[in-house]
Amino acid sequence: MERIPILQMGDFLLVTIQVDMHDRLAMTLQDDLTNRICQANARGVLIDISALEIVDSFIGRILGNIAKMAKVLDAQTVVVGMQPAVAITLVELGLSLEGIRTALNVEKGMNLLRTGFDPQSAPHLFPRG
């Protein structure tokens, strides 16, 4: 059966969705991910959806649910690389994915996870002074 691979990087789990998500696959991902968070005792989950061109309301909701479940399991979720068309579609569908943190790309997403979402300790892009 088709599965989306979940990679582990230290305390974080990395999921890169490269294929078109159908409902079954999304449900499997949700199962696998919650299991892995528990097993690995992960602190953060990074989901890269930059390759996705279509996200329907179901997938949008699953993403939201995954974030909530991760939160219950004490892990933060960052969704990265959403395409403009996808973002517009989700907004038009009325899904604003409240509670999910987002970042433009994997690098910024990892930074966000590392700093634990604390803006005060964010690494500075430019040296001060």
């Binding site: 973002a87 517009i88 989700l90 907004v91 987002t102 997403g109």
Partner: protein
């Protein structure tokens, strides 16, 4: 039935051409069109016209034998329209052919008034149709120009500028309608992806009014940007617009607003961890 115009066009095409040209040059503004150019157009048209009226269907200009005539007229109307001629000037190209043509008909058929009338009626309907065709194409060309200009204006009026590393600004000028907001939204989001900017400042100093629909569109844009991982700041809200927003009950909760673009920029710099110092250099 053998058409009489057909034989007239065959016999006296040279005289027709010169008389027609004379009429055209007297009615056209001078200098806009070269005479040689006009002569060539007329000659081509007469040739195609003579060929087309040899067929037996003279009550419609849609048939295949008319395709050459239609092509020539389409080309002519387009170039006239682009050169700034009026629709009537364009139509006169065809309609002024009536005078020399009818003159010939009258000379040949003066003894049989009944048939002459029939023939004139048929010819005049035909030429009117061709004249209407030119007007239609003229109008269509104008419409195309207007639509293209509209699109260009739309593109021009919504530039997304990069203010700093990771900071974009979108100064909006003019009234925001749905079509425009759509373009604004798409170009902003696209630029966010391209530049990887974390903060976008939407400056609406140049927007005179905001209605519910516009406010909703703005909110959607901001939510979409947030989904992609970028934050938006709205700046330059006029007092009048602030009143409208509150009266309309638009919820701007969770959206950062600043009074001026400068304030928004300062905040954006702070957010990205940049500091600017002014050194007092003498």
């Amino acid at each position: 039935m053998d058409s009489k115009i057909s034989s007239i066009l065959e016999q006296s095409s040279t005289e027709l051409l010169s008389e027609w040209l004379q009429l055209l040059t007297s009615s056209y503004r001078q200098g806009v069109l070269k005479e040689a150019e006009l002569r060539e157009e007329c000659r081509e048209f007469l040739q195609a016209f003579a060929k087309a009226v040899q067929g037996d269907r003279l009550d419609s200009i849609q048939g295949p034998q008319w395709s050459d005539v239609r092509d020539i007229l389409t080309h002519m109307s387009r170039s006239r329209s682009q050169k700034g001629f009026t629709p009537s000037e364009t139509a006169m190209f065809v309609l002024s052919l009536k005078q020399p043509l009818f003159e010939r008909l009258r000379q040949q058929w003066s003894d049989r008034s009944h048939e002459l009338l029939d023939e004139i009626w048929q010819t005049t309907t035909l030429l009117d149709r061709l004249g209407l065709l030119t007007t239609e194409i003229h109008q269509k060309t104008r419409d195309e120009i207007i639509i293209r200009q509209q699109e260009e204006l739309l593109e021009l009026s919504t530039p997304v500028v990069k203010l700093w590393h990771n900071i974009l600004a979108l100064p909006i000028i003019g009234t925001l309608d749905s079509a425009r907001t759509q373009i604004v939204m798409e170009s902003l989001l696209q630029k966010i992806v391209e530049t990887g900017s974390e903060i976008a400042i939407i400056d609406i100093t140049g927007v005179p009014t905001v209605d519910t629909l516009t406010a909703q569109h703005l909110l959607k844009t901001i939510t979409a940007a947030r989904l992609m991982g970028a934050d938006c700041i709205i700046s330059g809200i006029r007092p009048q617009i602030a009143q409208t927003i509150v009266y309309l009950g638009v919820d701007l909760q969770g959206i950062i607003t600043k009074s001026t673009l400068a304030d928004a920029f300062a905040l954006a710099l702070r957010r990205t961890g940049t500091q600017i110092h002014r050194s007092d250099v003498k």
